[in-house]
Subunit: 389 residues, 2 copies
DNA sequence: GGTATTAACTCAAATAACTTGAACTATCAA
DNA sequence: TTGATAGTTCAAGTTATTTGAGTTAATACC
């Protein structure tokens, strides 16, 4: 991850690529659009848009959707994203399991697989990932020569930080450059990120943050992560480790504690195990919630408080359009938290002009991070960077 | 402030403008550079850079600096920013006073003035601001037809938020669009922002964050503000109110309190007034510090703690290259805080590969926000937005 | 029902900025 | 002294865009 200021010149070729991205992005966002509408939105000439659309049709990334007449004048021919126009592989590496999905260009999952890992050593992971890639391409042959890239989700933090060696879940990857490794193994453009960032992108591409410019995603992982999106792109920080919100100490009735000791899978598990439960997994939590298990309810109370604190930090520091809560946690639990959290009224985020809720549940389920891995790639094809003023 | 996703197409004209910005930015950052060096940095052809430089010389924004021979080959002619190539006006509006500066293209202040405000009503402020603009142009006639724009710093939050009417320092501006108002009055491009954001830009243009891509600025205003810079540009949030870090409750020995009750001008003043001091202003604090006033020292202890908490939030959420502490507070006090804060070692920001200190003092003095107002304009002329990958 | 108006779209030419490739120049090293 | 190296310029060539005139197909009005 680089920290240098952004500097690259532009030329005809790069303009072209930017404009194709912008056209695809607008159409993805709106569902379908006509040439003239696009030209106005992008501040380009109709002719330019016409040429670009002809190109994208040729390349099989767009489909014609029939004309739509709105008032006077020639009805505009609408264009939509062609799902099979491009595919992105999403890979989530956890210490003992790998998840893989294949998304089409609209962000729909067309392949999903889970694969147990016997070892988390880089060479074994790479081997399994190429197998998963092959399985995906066998199941969806249309993707064979239309792969846009692969997104990889792995536990951070990345690089040599003060957290190194302490909380790393994949110690074997300490001195490896994952992006390079996967890029060589897969022969595809690769983006690597943590679970929370990826999850945010999943919601932006096909979930409840569809097309939003600025929002935050609170992710229940082992710990608690935060994905920040600004101007349609992830805010990764200077070293790619932005969003480690779980380590922040927040006030508690008995002093203070890191946020994720009260708001994370780790913390539910801990609390439930203390009271004699065992084998705490997704399904178990779901069941306990269905039966209103008192211990789980106690945890939920404390977690709601912690969530309120997290929201204060997120809203005051980042001022997002909305915040999304998700991750590998049963929907019912997430909904409970969203319903029961108390949001501070004295906040810059309580606005009369924002139609979105301040906090909402994610719409992508427990595989959100894996989906998001692939969404990282799609987003780079659908969202140009901010224009010069 | 807009919240929609960023979408604008590119064409030859916009490429040109982007490339000129990129060339100026690279030169600003490096001090001076040759054509070939620029071409490599921007991934443009040497010929393109040559044409752009010819243009910028013609426009009076660059100066030739003589050749520099480095090893074999023809020595490269160096180019530097021509200070009088462009000027930016910086205005800081406070309830009872206005500050104004004029910066040249290198970010040097060539005019500074303070003006007492009898009323903070929009029409009176506008009148005074145009007067200050005229005074600046009289004192620096070279700026007359080379004004790039005006930056305005005002207390936020902007728009109708949950804080409206409670903490606003300029109630008369509640239902006014400041940007539009100033733009019409001054006939210049205008950018409006809060003090912390502006301060961050001041340090990026001519202070200790010179040219940095990603950093944070903690600003001692009346309250406590946070300026976030990512990829060389401010992160403003969906509604322009990002960075209200002062309102976040943090743990204290006796429960919890909003950060700015312990770390802000307001809080020093409060603490010193409680113990019998009066007329607490900048100079008074400076004197009390020089004499190691026990009450001030007590405040400093609590403030250091609070600063430590702020740093945990900033580093974990944003992962900056460095954080800068500044604002309208004596340098000695800022230095004391930086020296005495205890930074958590278990942080993603403790890295072996970052040469910058995790926390440092600002280099722009107490006028930093006013300087920053003008720096907002300069930054837009020196930093292109991120390129497509 | 006919006609004017509106808006989307296409074709062909013009434009603007960048890239390419060959030639030239100045410095260093052997 | 000669060769290698690197910066720079000149003149064409390339590319994606804009411009402007003309076509098509709806709605609105008389």
């Amino acid at each position: 991850m680089t920290s240098s200021p952004p500097h690259q010149g532009s030329n005809a070729e790069r303009s072209r690529s930017r404009n194709r991205t912008a056209v695809l992005g607008q159409i993805h966002h709106a569902g379908e659009l006509g040439r003239a509408e696009l030209a106005r939105a992008l501040d380009l000439s109709v002719q330019a848009v016409s040429n670009i659309i002809a190109d994208l049709l040729q390349d099989g990334m767009l489909v014609e959707k029939g004309a739509r007449s709105a008032g006077r004048g020639l009805p505009a021919v609408q264009y939509g994203i062609k799902p099979e126009g491009g595919f992105a592989l999403g890979i989530e590496v956890r210490p003992n399991v790998i998840f893989a999905v294949l998304l089409d260009l609209t962000g729909k999952a067309v392949f999903t697989r889970r694969s147990v890992l016997k070892s988390a050593r880089p060479e074994d992971v790479i081997l399994e990932v190429t197998r998963l890639r092959d399985a995906a391409l066998t199941e969806v042959p249309a993707a064979k020569d239309r792969m846009l890239g692969a997104g990889i989700v792995m536990p951070g933090p990345f690089g040599a930080t003060g957290l190194s060696g302490r909380e790393t879940e994949l110690p074997e990857w300490q001195n490896v450059n994952p992006a390079e490794l996967f890029q060589n193994a897969l022969g595809l453009p690769v983006e690597v990120s943590n679970d929370a960032n990826a999850a945010a992108m999943a919601e932006r591409i096909s979930g409840c943050a569809h097309g939003l410019g600025s929002f935050a995603y609170l992710y229940f992982g082992t710990g608690l992560g935060l994905g920040l999106v600004s101007q349609g792109h992830l805010v990764r920080g200077a070293f790619g480790n932005a969003g480690e919100i779980g380590h922040i100490p927040v006030p508690t009735p008995l002093g203070s504690a890191p946020l994720e000791t009260r708001l994370s899978r780790m913390s539910v598990r801990h609390q439930l195990e203390m009271s004699g439960h065992s084998n705490i997994d997704f399904e178990k939590i779901e069941k306990l919630y269905a039966t209103s298990d008192p211990e789980l309810m106690t945890w939920l109370g404390s977690a709601s408080d912690a969530l309120g604190h997290a929201m204060q930090i997120i809203e005051n520091v980042f001022d997002p359009q909305t915040t999304i809560l998700g991750g590998a946690m049963p929907d019912a639990v997430l909904r409970h938290l969203v319903r029961n959290v108390s949001l501070n009224n004295a906040s810059v985020s309580r606005r009369s002009d924002n139609p979105l809720p301040r906090l909402q549940c994610g719409a992508s389920g427990r595989l959100v991070a894996t989906l998001g891995a692939a969404a990282l790639i799609l987003n780079s094809r659908l969202t140009p960077h901010a224009a010069t003023h």
